[in-house]
Symmetry: C2
Subunit: 208 residues, 2 copies
């Protein structure tokens, strides 16, 4: 890690602190400059702009979540459907707890998602990769019968969309969401076990 990387990380740490406490909008580049003992103009040697600093913070959190979820893949004694269950519920609980613990960081992530669609798509892609491997494991173990794991992973994301977007469940208590997710999960797993033969005809590379 070069000294330039050190400075970038210093800016990110300062920004994370500010964004979590005051929110993205209430934090100024002057604030971040003060916190990092440099001039406002100098911040632009390390990041293209304010939004890029926020995006980096959100990306780090997203990567951490995906890494955490990928540990499900190596849990001993867990069947594919149990791993899928772990994935969906831990993802929901993580999102719900982040909303309660750091509401302003969630608000920041929503701003990034609105301004930088690719950021959200990348996050979805990371999680979908873990889902794909769970579905493949199900195929290998004989529990699932899925022709196209990649496509089915995408379908699982589509079917559980409601539990990934804070703004779609803010008014609901966690227990209620878990009950509903359990219901959707049961139908999905029954379907995966029974066998899904379809696949994506001409997969689009870019999601909107």
């Amino acid at each position: 890690m070069t000294s330039q990387d050190d400075t970038r990380q210093k800016i990110i740490n300062a920004a994370k602190e500010r964004f979590a406490h005051y929110g993205y909008g209430k934090t100024t580049m002057a604030d971040l400059a003060d916190d990092t003992q440099m001039s406002p103009g100098n911040l632009y040697r390390y990041f293209p702009g304010k939004l890029d600093i926020a995006e980096e913070i959100a990306r780090e959190a997203s990567i951490r979540t995906a890494e955490q979820l990928s540990r499900i893949l190596t849990r001993p004694g867990r069947s594919a459907s149990e791993r899928l269950h772990d994935f969906l519920f831990e993802d929901l609980r993580e999102t719900f707890q982040t909303l309660e613990r750091d509401p302003k960081l969630v608000e920041m992530a929503q701003i990034i998602t609105a301004e930088r669609p690719h950021f959200h798509n990348e996050g979805q892609k990371r999680e979908r990769e873990v889902l794909r491997r769970i579905v493949e494991y199900g195929n290998v173990s004989g529990e699932f019968s899925v022709a196209d794991p990649e496509f089915v992973a995408e379908m699982i994301q589509s079917a559980t969309l409601k539990f990934s977007y804070p703004q779609l469940f803010t008014r609901l208590p966690l227990a209620r969401l878990e009950r509903e997710l359990e219901g959707v999960f049961q139908i999905l797993v029954a379907g995966l076990k029974a066998g899904v033969s379809i696949s994506e005809p001409h997969r689009d590379v870019v999601e909107a």
Copy 2:
């Protein structure tokens, strides 16, 4: 229909015209009063307020959609899974086409949903009733094996949420949405055929 009902319908027709053309916000009570040859104050003898007029328009549209979807229940020669397919795709196409034909009425419906949560819940409930009967028909015909059709209908709605909310798919073309819905549909139907034994433990009467 009394003369008071006549006047209410006259107001609704005028409002629908204005809301569709200019939008909810750009339409004033003075406009509606002019269109119906009465004073602004008189409108309040027929409706509690402006939002109530809009809600009535949205409710009529919602009821019409549910009635249209309920005709799926009596199509001869259609299996339960074919009916479920018909339901999901006709609902999506209807929503998509309404968005293209009357974007300002969709915007109005979003305002109602935000201000009057019960309106949206009622709409969901109407459609869920049709879904429940499709699932029950599947049970009776032996195609499905579902313990609690009411709960599963709710789960189907949850799993296909993305295709019911214009703001969640605005940037996607219809063909892409249909392909994705087909994928989710295949997994759901495979699950319903395989059998879903769970049910809602203590069903909440009120959705958020």
